[in-house]
């Protein structure tokens, strides 16, 4: 009797443990069935960035008015995953190596895209675009398509950049006025303003708590100071008929020496290598920062937040710092802002293309927001309801997947956004962009050494902090060349000499 009881209970426990391990969640089953069902909307899973946007209460990336609108119009059921923005690229790698791939991913890095495309990770899209993407074909120019071709086949639907550059200098105008300073233009004048902003108590609170110039981790927001020396990091320059990388130019050494000088005098934010975007924005909002390289839309972000907190605060766009040889400028952004790729394993490529094509076709409602709700035409001018516009900014998450600039609507839109100088900022940037002379698809050496070479640049921060002497720049250059840089330069120059480039330039018609 006892033994029988023991047997039954043992069996029971064992079976229970087994079934607990092998249970398929009911929802999965339902989804699978739904997938097979004929009438139901076809479901696609996509991985995109939420761009740091937030949703109005009660909505999220999978349930909001714009997504519902897209789903209604396309007849698709779209499942969205948004990895955190700070680790977005890392997360994409994790997903790619996980073996459980979505139907579409949105990537931002040309090298990342090229790497996986060459490994055969994505589906070729030529036929699908011909069949299902008439708007994509119409609105995305040929040179952009050339940049997503490997071995003659298209592997991504590109999203285009509306702007040619991002950053320009902004300063606290009220601080300049209080200290009796003119807006700086030359590097010396900049130096004096940065010094005064740090040491002369520009906010007049009697405490030494201000930062003259704020930079970010990995030398973020430092571009104009490299521009003053006629160089930019990770940008290709033509010197004596050959392309060379800005990261190893002697001019870059000079720019680093200048910044190291500022740091030594205590004029730079002491902890700038720890500044993430969030920290930088906090410091600006709290009125600690007098000068920084702002993005053209920061006037709506941290600068607006600062004005709200300190009603007396005034900001002014400055001319770019001009170096001893009269040079100035800021880095150029790539023509392509993002890459929509479809993993080879996806069975819903057709639906993904339809989804992307719809986004490209509906610039008006998705970029500008619903007409007559967010904006309307009044006497031939576009008028935007500001509060609503801000509330529904999140639509950019979807719209930016296939951004196809529309120059006519663009100025109207920016002007209608009110007093943030967005259009002026962009014009200022456009006139000062330093061109990247390489705009082909990433070369094989780039795919191979890109991460490694950019990690070497960690030494730049050490040089500015005074941990390593400026002379170690020369050692870095040697190492850079040895560990793949030379190979990369050779490949880039092959491209430079090839006819392919001439054709693309010809199309640009500057």
């Amino acid at each position: 009797m006892r033994s029988k009881l023991r047997f039954v209970s043992t069996l029971f426990v064992t079976v229970f443990l087994f079934s607990a391990g092998c249970d398929v969640p009911a929802s999965e089953k339902n989804r699978e069935e739904q997938h097979k069902g004929a009438g139901a909307a076809k479901s696609i899973g996509i991985v995109i960035s939420n761009l740091g946007m937030t949703f109005p209460a009660g909505m999220d990336e999978n349930d909001n008015r714009y997504l519902n609108y897209i789903e209604e119009q396309t007849g698709l059921d779209i499942q969205i995953t948004t990895p955190p923005t700070e680790v977005y690229n890392e997360k994409l790698d994790v997903i790619m190596s996980s073996g459980k791939l979505p139907d579409m991913l949105h990537a931002y890095e040309a090298v990342w895209f090229g790497n996986y495309a060459k490994q055969g990770a994505f589906q070729p899209l030529d036929d699908l675009i011909d069949q299902y993407g008439p708007h994509l074909k119409e609105k995305i120019p040929a040179e952009a398509w050339d940049r997503v071709r490997y071995g003659g086949k298209i592997y991504a639907v590109p999203s285009l950049n509306e702007v040619s550059g991002v950053e320009l200098m902004y300063a606290r105008k009220d601080w300049l006025e209080r200290l009796g300073l003119q807006p700086p233009e030359t590097l010396e004048e900049y130096h004096e303003v940065i010094r005064a902003f740090t040491q002369d108590d520009p906010d007049g609170n009697g405490v030494d708590d201000t930062i003259g110039l704020a930079l970010m981790i990995d030398l973020g927001r430092s571009s104009p100071f490299f521009g003053a020396f006629g160089t930019q990091l990770d940008t290709w320059f033509e010197r004596d008929g050959k392309l060379v990388n800005g990261s190893i130019l002697p001019e870059t050494k000079k720019a680093l020496a200048y910044l190291a000088g500022l740091y030594e005098e205590g004029l730079l934010d002491r902890e700038f290598p720890l500044n993430l975007q969030k920290n930088l924005f906090e410091k600006i909002r709290d009125g600690k920062v007098g000068l920084f390289s702002a993005t053209w839309y920061d006037t709506r972000g941290p600068i607006a937040a600062n004005k709200q907190k300190e009603p007396k605060a005034k900001w002014i766009a400055l001319p770019y710092p001009t170096g001893p040889d009269g040079q100035k400028g800021v880095y150029e952004t790539d023509m392509i802002r993002g890459y929509n790729v479809i993993p080879a394993s996806s069975l819903s490529a057709k639906e993904v293309i339809q989804f992307l094509d719809f986004i490209a076709s509906d610039y008006k409602n998705l970029k500008l927001g619903f007409e007559n709700e967010i904006w309307k035409w009044e006497n031939g001018r576009m008028v935007t309801d500001f509060r609503k516009h801000d509330e529904q900014l999140y639509r950019g998450i979807y719209q930016s997947l296939v951004d196809v600039p529309d120059p006519v609507l663009s100025k109207e839109r920016l002007d209608s956004l009110g007093d943030f100088h967005l259009y002026d900022n962009l014009e200022m940037i456009r006139q000062n962009v330093i061109n990247n002379e390489f705009y082909g698809i990433p070369t094989p050496a780039m795919s191979k050494y890109d991460k490694k070479l950019s990690e070497l640049q960690g030494i730049f921060t050490n040089i500015i902090l005074g941990i390593e002497p400026i002379e170690s720049f020369d050692r870095y250059v040697e190492q850079w060349k040895r560990e793949g840089g030379d190979e990369m330069t050779r490949e880039v120059n092959l491209w430079f000499e090839s006819s392919e480039r001439q054709i693309v330039r010809g199309n640009e018609g500057e």
């Binding site: 023991r6 443990l17 391990g21 190596s97 902890e271 410091k283 080879a344 050490n462 902090l465």
Partner: protein, 319 residues
């Protein structure tokens, strides 16, 4: 039991050695052994099957061609590992940070547990215990944020204190000479309280009559501590130490990953963070698997050696 001592009814024919008796044991108590099956299956499925993946350390692995079709390359990745200047630095950092953590942080919970054990007031004892457990439940991301704020040069508490004492402020997170101390201190703050649990439990194993006997013999608190409590929990201390040795090459990857920055790579880049950056960042899966395998072999050896030495000199081991 010595052969030849008084005969007890031993199950099974013990002449034929251990395994036959195991089989007969299973035959007799098969229903109890049946309970083991799910556990064994679990370990086979989730611990042993993935070991197949180790083969990619000897291949040029491409995730899209798969395990089987990637070409074999022999010891290539290990050669790269041992000749890479990066790895020498990373290995050195790992060992230094790990040793610092063992030397400073291993005795700490024992001391704290001993002090808690001597506490008379149960209310205070319990409250202290709870308060020092708590940091264990915070994720490293949060702890790192706390320490960054606390140690900041822009208004951090510690630097304000230094300035008020007329000392130079220190950029703790950017200073190669102090960053490791930050790592050890924050790890101590987070985990010391939690680690006391094991030792507090061990105290209950010590026979209370020993204390009474010692008291009668006139032993004071210190003598009791030294001659009864410590020897009483020695097996646990040794067990914990051997287990800790096994993870000597795991210097706290998660912690370092959220706390370091390129300025302090030189003193804080450890095997775990290096593998993470190379493996995922550069998609160099084969190389990083080689690193991982190397780490595992070292850890395995250390545990075996540690246990053998412990059995030889202290007559105690974990198996």
């Amino acid at each position: 039991m010595k052969p030849g001592s008084k005969k007890l009814p031993v199950p099974g024919p013990n002449r034929r050695g251990y395994f036959p008796s195991l089989w007969s044991d299973i035959w007799k108590e098969w229903d109890l052994y049946l309970l083991l099956v799910p556990g064994i299956l679990f370990i086979l499925l989730f611990k042993y099957t993935p070991m197949y993946g180790i083969t990619i350390a000897f291949k040029d692995f491409n995730i899209f061609t798969g395990f089987a079709d990637s070409p074999w390359v022999g010891w290539k990745h290990f050669e790269k590992l041992f000749t890479s200047p990066d790895f020498a630095l990373v290995f050195q950092n790992t060992v230094i940070i790990s040793l610092l953590k063992i030397i400073i942080l291993f005795p700490l919970p024992i001391i704290v547990a001993l002090m808690l054990n001597e506490m008379k007031n149960m209310m205070i004892k319990r409250s202290v215990q709870t308060v020092i457990y708590l940091p264990h439940f915070l994720s490293w991301v949060i702890v790192s944020g706390l320490f960054i704020d606390l140690l900041s040069t822009n208004g951090g508490l510690v630097n304000k204190l230094l300035v008020s004492l007329n000392l130079e402020p220190v950029a703790f997170f950017l200073d190669n000479s102090v960053f490791r101390s930050v790592l050890v201190t924050s790890a101590g703050w987070k985990e010391t309280g939690w680690s006391t649990i094991v030792y507090l439990a061990a105290f209950s194993m010590v026979d209370p009559s020993l204390y009474e006997a010692a008291k009668i013999d006139g032993a004071g608190k210190w003598k009791q501590l030294w001659h009864i409590t410590l020897p009483g929990i020695a097996p646990i201390i040794i067990l914990m130490f051997i287990l800790r040795l096994g993870s000597i090459l795991e210097a706290g990857t998660e912690q370092i990953l959220v706390m370091y920055n390129p300025v302090v790579y030189k003193v804080s880049d450890v095997i775990g963070t290096y593998v993470y950056r190379q493996g995922l960042g550069n998609q160099d899966y084969s190389f990083t698997t080689a690193v991982g395998l190397f780490e595992a072999v070292i850890s395995f050896t250390l545990v075996i050696v540690g246990n053998t030495l412990s059995k030889k000199y202290l007559q105690r081991g974990i198996w």
